[in-house]
Amino acid sequence: MSFRAEIHDAIDEVTPPAPMLASRVGAYVLAEDRVVRRPRLGTWMRPLRGMAVVLAAALVVVLLAGLVLGGRLWRDWNTNVNRPIPINHAQLKALEARPLNLPLIETGAPCPVGPIVNAPKESALGPLAYNDGNGPVYAHGTGLRYGTSWGPTSLRAMWSSPRSRA
């Protein structure tokens, strides 16, 4: 007996005849196909489906653009705002070594009030800005206070007329 015949005999023993199987399977397939097949979309639905696709695509584009712009803003913020300002330690030492000459005011003496003058026309602050001092160096303060690692700091600009340098 050949190997092929042995295989036939062995498998035939567990393969009972199924004469009606083809017709049964055919009925099952056709019935299932009718049940599962979805109805076609009506003609009035097609434009809505197209609009939904366009809307979805637009949302995706907006989302991607927002991610890109947000990422750039976040990066710039981290780069420019939160960046620690470098300190020139040599310059700092030199400034700290200079004597601090502050006028002394005796107890009970009247408060000396410095003159307030109009800024010269060449001032970058414009003719309406008021500044302290007689010149040629003027003090200009914004009054804004900042919190720094050195404590509360008031920004005060000192400037002079270019003509006075000459």
Partner: protein
Amino acid sequence: MQRVADSPLSSAQPRSGQTFTDLLAPLVEPGYRLACAMLHDAPAAEDAVQEASLIAWRKLGRLQDQSRLRAWFLGIVANECRNARRRRWATAVSHGLPDTLSVISGEERVLQGTDLRHALRQLPHDDRLVVVLYFYLDMPLPEVAAVVGGSVGAVRRRLYRAVRRMRPDIVIEEAI
């Protein structure tokens, strides 16, 4: 190669009971024999063929070459058999040999058949598939290769290996 332009496979044509009778009905019986050989369980084989027929019916329009219909359909049946075995493994302990034999034969022949089926069950799915297709459904090697999706050489090597595992003492050249 027969194209689908005016063949019953064209998805543009409405498919009917007649289309099923013309195309798939003749393949149900070989599909059932394949499933029985793969599963050794007639009710499970019928279920596998039924599900495979439904899948084939729904995908019939995608088949480009009608001459490949039998190989394509048997490939779907083989996949369903693999899924059925997985489901069985997940839900029940393997029963080993089949409980009932439908044909009463001589004692020695029954034992020989039982041994052979047992050896067949021990083969991996793909090895068992090529053995069944080649030796039981008597398909030529190129068609077996089309069913399993490999080359003729690969199928021949797989057959050698499978037969050697089932019957280490057999002369391979006589078997194949």
